[in-house]
């Protein structure tokens, strides 16, 4: 197939070449992907391995608040939790990043300054992405100027689904340019992409356009992150590295609520993309309520008794 011979540099030269490349990607075996994800989800991770997995998962969390009702106070409280997830146990690792709306970036950046916790900001008219490119670029630039280390952008799903791949590509590239030094996470919103083939195509499209991370969902659309979709994205980043030598991260977000779910994702990463991705620099979990469950499981391992939500912060 032409995909193996096409030079990736020329792929985005026109809508036609981009379409030819993306549609030349091998199709996804839906039943096989579902089955593979389900099988990997049954791995039993216990005792010391579980303790290690829980700590790794905590260190991969992008602690997120994306509500219309967010306030500076709520963001400060969340940042405090990001730095010291379990105030009663200093050995609990800090999370990877906090994720907020652009207008709250300055507040978050001040709250986590010097702690090693990154500030991620959603941008580009999150969650729908329905605005002009100028606004998207300005939104991104303002968030970076306010101190965001990472930008979570949404793709134009309307353009993607109607086959205008070059438009999506150019938007990602423009936002990437506006983001500058900041890491760019591209949200595919897989819940709206309808097929696994589209997930694979969108992953490649985002990576070709310069994404540092590909992210499943905004968390505002159901279904959000699922194991099979993450499996397909992990395969895409693995194949992309084999092809180009560049490593791209993956971030499932939305709907991951329990430590058990988080550990399933870690197994998936290890078995699909490989150990290189088992690092907060290359794999993140976008979540809010997940952190409390991870902490409860951590406490259960430490004390030998089941923990209760009364002893952790409400968020």
């Amino acid at each position: 197939m032409s995909i193996l011979t096409t030079s990736l540099a020329e792929v985005a030269s026109s809508d036609a070449t981009l379409r030819a490349f993306l549609h030349g990607l091998p199709g996804v075996d839906r039943v096989g992907a579902d089955q593979r994800a389900a099988v990997l989800g049954t791995r039993s991770i216990k005792t010391t391995a579980k303790a290690q997995a829980i700590d790794l998962a905590i260190s991969m969390v992008d602690l997120t608040t994306l509500e219309g009702a967010d306030t500076p106070g709520k963001v400060r409280a969340m940042c405090a939790k990001a730095v010291h997830p379990d105030p009663s146990d200093p050995s609990a690792p800090r999370v990877a990043a906090v994720c907020v709306y652009p207008d709250l970036v300055a507040e978050a950046a001040a709250a986590v300054a010097g702690t090693g916790v990154k500030v991620a900001s959603v941008a580009t008219a999150f969650p729908s992405g329905r605005t002009s490119l100028e606004v998207k670029v300005a939104d991104t630039a303002l968030a970076v100027a306010a101190g965001a280390d990472e930008i979570d952008m949404v793709i134009d799903r309307g353009a993607f689904l109607s086959g205008r791949y070059l438009k999506v590509y150019e938007e990602i590239a423009a936002v990437k340019a506006a983001a500058g030094e900041a890491h760019l996470k591209v949200i595919l919103e897989t819940g709206e992409l309808a097929t696994y083939d589209n997930v694979r195509r969108a992953s490649w499209l985002a990576m070709l356009a310069g994404a540092d991370f590909i992210k499943t969902s905004t968390g505002k659309v159901s279904p959000a992150a699922t194991l099979p979709v993450t499996l397909i994205m992990l395969e895409a980043v693995r194949d992309f590295r084999a092809r180009t030598g560049r490593m791209v991260g993956v971030k499932p977000a939305g709907g991951i609520r329990t430590a058990k779910d988080a550990i399933k994702y870690l197994v998936l990463v290890n078995e699909t993309a490989g150990e290189d991705w088992l690092d907060p620099a290359w794999f993140r979990l976008g979540a809010s309520s997940l952190l409390n469950d991870l902490l409860m499981q951590r406490q259960k391992l430490a004390t030998g008794r089941y923990a209760g939500p009364d002893y952790f912060t409400l968020d």
């Binding site: 030998g304 008794r305 089941y306 923990a307 939500p309 009364d310 002893y311």
Partner: protein, 290 residues
């Protein structure tokens, strides 16, 4: 269970009752239950600590709805449970004959007593606050009112004797006031407990208010006693040594512990001790004249 007219016997699978559903034990384990005379009756699920954990989650989830329902509504639902139990009188009597080796007449009396016990506690639902609450005279321009409120999730170790009457007598007082519960049924005779679960499941009782585990109290009770999301524990069915250990574990999150004198007579009128054990008092100060 017999083969009548050449029909194949349709045997009941006794499972757990968690969150309004009847799951098998996550451990996949079961144990043989024998009658008082040693005859094999059925296999019952042998619940593990993870089943207990899941049951606590289900009970916690059901708590806001159940404790927020009006006392009148809770009383009506308990009364409905009594109605459903009455309709299955013959089935329960037969199970008690098998489980306890009592005469058919005695078994019938025990089922009647269980129905009456539910009705008795149902009546208490909207009277607890009147009897155990108070309007307190205070030295200031305030109305000062104390009302009993439910504690939350209560773990109950049901008595080994009295597989139906004893069980009903420990569940009803806990839930009538708005608590939800996780019950460890009698290890020796768990079958009536699961049949009671079928009654509960068809009585408008929201799923998760009562969760019934069958298995070993010695295996499950310590996990429930140590669980930080359980607010109270009734140690009725625990032997001395286990009860002491559970009481010690329960201290970690200051659970309310109820440890009655052993040898309680289930046929006697119960009094309100069990009803009061898992209530806590809320006092409200309200300015006068505003």
């Amino acid at each position: 269970m017999s083969e009548n007219n050449g029909r194949l016997a349709v045997r009941k699978t006794y499972k757990l009752f968690v969150g309004g559903a009847f799951p098998r034990s996550e451990s996949g384990r079961s144990y043989a239950v024998r009658s008082a005379k040693g005859v094999f009756l059925a296999n019952a699920a042998l619940a593990s600590r993870k089943d207990a954990r899941d049951a606590v989650v289900a009970a916690r989830k059901a708590f806001p709805g159940w404790s927020g329902a009006t006392a009148y509504n809770r009383g009506q639902i308990l009364y409905r449970v009594a109605e459903m139990l009455e309709g299955r009188r013959a089935q329960f009597a037969a199970e008690l004959v098998d489980a306890d080796g009592v005469s058919a007449r005695k078994a019938g009396e025990l089922v009647d007593a269980a129905v009456d016990r539910l009705v008795w506690y149902a009546g208490w639902s909207d009277k607890i606050a009147a009897v155990h609450g108070s309007a307190n005279p205070v030295a200031g321009p305030y109305f000062n009112l104390s009302t009993p409120e439910p504690s939350g999730v209560v773990a109950v170790v049901a008595p080994p004797m009295g597989p139906l009457l004893g069980l009903v007598s420990v569940i009803a007082p806990v839930i009538v006031s708005g608590n939800t519960c996780v019950v460890v049924a009698s290890e020796r005779a768990p079958l009536p407990a699961i049949t009671l679960a079928e009654v509960l499941a068809t009585s408008d009782l929201p799923g998760g208010v009562v969760n019934i585990l069958t298995g070993r109290a010695a295996e499950l009770a310590p996990w429930l006693a140590g669980h930080m999301d359980v607010n109270g524990i009734d140690l009725t069915g625990c032997p001395e040594e286990l009860a002491v250990a559970c009481e010690r574990d329960a201290a970690e999150n200051l659970k309310r512990v109820f440890r009655p004198d052993p040898g309680e007579d289930w046929l006697a009128t119960p009094g309100t001790a069990r009803l009061r054990a898992f209530l806590e008092t809320k006092t409200v100060w309200h300015p006068v004249g505003i």
